[in-house]
Amino acid sequence: MKRSTIDIWVGAFVAAGFAGLLFLALKVGNLASFSTAETYQVQAKFANIGGLKVRAPIKSAGVVVGRVSNVTFDNESYEAIVTFNVDAHYRFPRDTSAKILTSGLLGEQYVGLEAGGDGVMLKQGDRLRLTQSAVVLENLISQFLFNKAAENKVESKDGK
């Protein structure tokens, strides 16, 4: 086979390979969604974050508005400090509350923002006051069992 024919084929192959990788990066991965927009950083303290991970989405009214950038543990309050970046397009009042929610029963966990009524907007470095921790399934179940047991006790006492 002639050299120029080989060059064309190899060129096509390399182009196709890079197109495949680009497809993975843009369409499959999230390269397009976070590298372009400017963001501002907000922190929130939670008593329990459950299974929240770095890069988990921040959603408000179901729309992804940012991503978790860092999770640390506060040695003084014994709480988790979650830092997240919110897209600069989206603005929230200062008294916005944050909840850790789960998408579906077994889905991944994300931070849900619920806007408050304050006139002052959140800015870079602010901290959210109102937070609600993740629902930990084990706690929920044990709570339920305790309640059940307590009810039974009361019932058996009444019956006596």
């Binding site: 084929w9 190899v10 390399v14 499959v28 999230n30 770095v54 890069r55 077994l106």
Partner: protein
């Protein structure tokens, strides 16, 4: 007493044979490592006269493309079928995109593409170099004062290293397309959820880049084994056929073992945070 000493002697003999076998294996490994270092040091020709390498990319990469694309498509389609079956029991069939994409990008893409590459291109490289040796073409080249490792071996090695990540990328992309066809077009998973969930969970650095690194490592391992087996093959018909078989077996095992090591390094440490 006589019997016992017989058993003992047999045992000792067996141990001795084992030791000798292990010694030969280690010697060969050392030789392969030296060969690798020599090849890297003498890669100047392959990179300076890049058309030599381009020619080999044609044979290793372009000619492997069809099998890679077709296999990728089918693997993706099967993943979607099987994944849907399991996910819908938990009512989370919209996570199908995540399942297909993560399995392909992290594991199946690099590994299956590597295995196919080993049997399609690796065996061809070994057979070609082995036959060049058997027909004295390698010797003729040396006699013409041309280093066959620089002229014949190194271009094939670099071609394999360049082709492998591209093939793995094509495999994953094609597989995700296959998963999309079956999941969205055939089964009817909601298209928006399929893509958005995928994009939300697949990380460019954590998943895709690590997949590319894996395929690069596999590319180095497979082509190294292939060129070494070819160059080391006894110059006979059985020698070349044996070396070709060894290339496929050794490089397949190497891919699986390396995959385990790399997965352990990449995904257990990084993801816990």
């Amino acid at each position: 007493m006589v019997e016992r000493s017989g058993v003992l002697a047999g045992l000792l003999q067996g141990l001795e044979r084992l030791g000798r076998g292990a010694g030969a294996k280690i010697w060969r490994l050392g030789f392969a490592a030296r060969f690798f270092a020599y090849m890297l040091l003498h890669s100047g020709t392959a990179l300076r006269r890049f058309h030599l390498t381009i020619r080999e990319i044609y044979f290793a990469g372009v000619l492997s493309m069809v099998i890679i694309l077709v296999s990728g498509l089918f693997v993706g389609m099967v993943l979607a079928l099987q994944g849907y079956e399991t996910l819908q029991r938990y009512g989370s069939s919209e996570a199908l995109g995540v399942l297909v994409a993560l399995s392909l990008v992290r594991e199946l893409g690099p590994v299956i593409a590597g295995l196919l590459f080993a049997s399609r291109a690796g065996s061809a490289i070994t057979a070609e170099i082995g036959l060049m040796k058997a027909t004295e073409q390698i010797a003729a080249m040396e006699m013409m004062a041309v280093d066959p490792i620089a002229r014949v071996v190194a271009p094939r090695f670099w071609a394999g290293v360049i082709s492998m990540p591209l093939l793995a990328g094509l495999f994953s992309a094609m597989g995700i397309f296959g998963g999309y066809l079956v999941g969205v077009k055939l089964i009817g998973v909601e298209e928006g959820a399929f893509w958005s969930q995928m994009q939300a969970s697949v990380d460019v650095r954590e998943d895709i880049l690590n997949g590319v690194i894996k395929s690069l490592v596999f590319g180095v391992a497979v082509t190294w084994i292939a060129v070494f087996e070819g160059y080391d093959a006894p110059p006979t018909a059985e020698g070349v056929s044996g070396a070709t078989t060894r290339t496929v077996v050794t490089s397949s095992l190497a891919i699986l073992a390396l995959d385990f090591v790399l997965t352990a390094l990449m995904f257990t440490g990084g993801n816990g945070k």
